[in-house]
């Protein structure tokens, strides 16, 4: 049977990614991008809801998507560190999205063919969305990498900063997805005239075990504040 914490981790990835993307609402660099980022946030949020609902069923303790989203502390979140990092710079947002979607796409492809019918149905829907996210992030990575000097510098800086966090995506059973991920990402970086960072050195992790950065608890404090202030209320 599919593991509760595994599904929870996937759901938390999507939920935290959605929350970070939603912070761009009404402050994207152009209006079309406001719409695109909201779209992607909505996709991630939609997948998060399906996954958290399913995780709750697997757990069998009657926890709903909202119980799981709003009533856990950061020590009980299983998302990878990548998605929780702050993104004040649009280049960081695009680098995160590139790395995340290049991982989610093949992962969902695989899950769509898994024996678990529920998970397979969720993944079949999500993989189409991931393909769009990957296209969007690739397009911007290339534009920014091959745009102006400033945008090149910012995009390279974002890629360099985030690269160490991508190792965590391929921990354990996902190790073999890295080859495909690298092929995708390396091609985009090359197109974008960006340097692919070296591996090794610092490889932060721990998110899947609930050991997060100091950023996540702030994100959750904001996300959960209204829900927690009204215990037991319906919305």
């Amino acid at each position: 049977m599919t593991d509760f914490e595994y599904v929870l981790g996937l759901g938390d990835d999507a939920l935290v990614a959605a929350q970070r993307l939603a912070q761009w609402a009404a402050r994207a660099p152009e209006m079309e991008e406001d719409i695109a980022l909201a779209n992607i946030a909505l996709d991630q949020l939609g997948t998060a809801r399906l996954l958290l609902t399913y995780a709750g069923e697997l757990e069998g303790a009657d926890r709903t998507e909202d119980d799981l989203a709003y009533l856990r502390d950061d020590r009980d979140f299983h998302n990878c560190l990548l998605v929780e990092l702050p993104e004040q710079d649009f280049a960081v947002t695009m680098a995160k999205l590139l790395f995340l979607s290049a991982y989610q796409k093949p992962l969902y492809d695989r899950l769509a063919d898994s024996g678990d019918e529920r998970l397979s149905a969720i993944a079949a829907k999500a993989r189409k969305e991931s393909a769009y996210h990957l296209d969007h992030a690739s397009l911007w990575t290339v534009r920014l990498g091959d745009g102006t000097d400033e945008s090149h510098r910012r995009m390279q800086d974002a890629v360099d900063r985030l690269w160490p966090y991508t190792h965590e995506l391929f921990e354990g059973e996902h190790a073999d997805l890295r080859a495909q991920w690298l092929a995708t990402v390396e091609a985009v970086l090359a197109d974008a005239t960006l340097t692919r960072p070296a591996d090794g050195g610092w490889t932060p992790g721990g998110g899947r075990q609930g050991l997060h950065t100091e950023h996540l608890s702030y994100l959750l404090a904001e996300m959960q504040v209204v829900h927690r202030a009204h215990p037991g209320a319906r919305w």
Binding site: A22, A25, P29, L42, L45, R49, T148, S151, W235
Partner: protein
């Protein structure tokens, strides 16, 4: 002359004026002003509701609110596109917004203080917008009328969502109910003020009516809105903060207290609670995004050189 006559005949016959048609300069200017103001309002209007996306109290509500704010960006884009058919560019209009030379709806200069404000904005502010905008679907200028049809459809969806939020809160815990009533109390008069000054003081109305840009007067629309809200408030089991609100059997309308038009004028002049915050937020987003837009332009220029059209 001939062109003027043709234009007047179109208006008379309730036909649409299209971008290629001749139109009087004042008609064009008047439309640009109105459509631009409407577009700016959609863009600025993303802020007060966007303020609660990250804090929405359920994932379902978060998704609905995110989609709504996204719709507003979309409405902004349709409307800027409609204005562009009149020979101004979106960049020019955005510049006029950022420099304060063009306005947006004053309603967005009030703060959203609690989650219930998202409900109250949906119910009252979108409700007032619909009452204002439904007649614009028959506006004499084709592109604007068509944009409004699409927008009104989505707005009524938003209004129903706002109503649902308030309904859930009003039938929830005592704290939720109190939050809902408080939000309605704060948004009621600003919503009434959305219909503009009383007909006696309205500057642009008469000509707009003649041109069939506008079809009803401010006071007529305001009355229509009040009548609609009274019914809905009773379903919500929430009260409207007007002790003088009562049915007038003679007029077959509700009597009500007018909003404070002096306050409205203060807000229009820039002295509402959030005018500075809203415009600064927009300016900051615009200036912080400049390097991204420049990069996109630089990349497009490189591409154009590398891959000439048709290759």
């Amino acid at each position: 002359d001939h062109l003027q006559g043709y234009f007047e005949a179109i208006i008379e016959a309730d036909q649409k004026v299209e971008p290629r048609d001749w139109m009087p300069d004042d008609y064009r200017r008047s439309l640009v002003r109105q459509i631009a103001q409407h577009a700016h309002s959609e863009i600025i209007g993303m802020q007060p509701e966007g303020n609660w996306i990250t804090r929405a109290p359920s994932l379902k509500r978060k998704a609905i609110l995110l989609a709504k704010v996204q719709d507003e960006a979309g409405h902004g884009l349709y409307l800027y596109a409609a204005a562009e058919t009149l020979g101004v560019s979106r960049d020019e209009l955005v510049e006029l917004l950022l420099s304060g030379r063009q306005k947006y709806s004053s309603i967005f200069n009030y703060p959203t203080l609690t989650w219930a404000d998202v409900g109250a904005i949906g119910w009252l502010v979108d409700g007032a917008a619909i009452v204002n905008q439904v007649p614009l679907c028959r506006c004499s200028y084709g592109p604007y009328a068509r944009a409004m049809i699409r927008i009104c459809k989505e707005e009524s969806f938003h209004q129903r969502q706002g109503f649902e939020i308030l309904h859930t809160l009003a039938h929830g815990t005592p704290a939720q109910r109190e939050m809902a009533q408080d939000a309605v109390n704060r948004w009621w008069y600003p919503s009434l003020a959305m219909f503009g000054p009383p007909d006696s003081d309205s500057t642009h109305s008469e000509r707009s009516m003649a041109w069939k840009i506008k079809r009803f007067s401010n006071d007529e629309l305001r009355q229509r809105f009040v009548d609609m809200c009274v019914q809905q408030a009773s379903v919500l089991t929430l009260s409207l903060p007007d002790p003088d609100l009562r049915w007038n059997a003679e007029r077959e309308h509700y009597d009500f207290t007018q909003p404070d038009f002096d306050e409205l004028m203060q807000v229009v002049k820039g002295n509402g609670p959030c005018n500075r915050q809203r415009i600064e937020h927009r300016r900051r987003a615009h200036s912080e995004g400049a390097w991204v837009r420049e990069a996109a332009a630089a990349y497009a220029a490189k591409r154009a050189v590398r891959e000439p059209a048709g290759v």
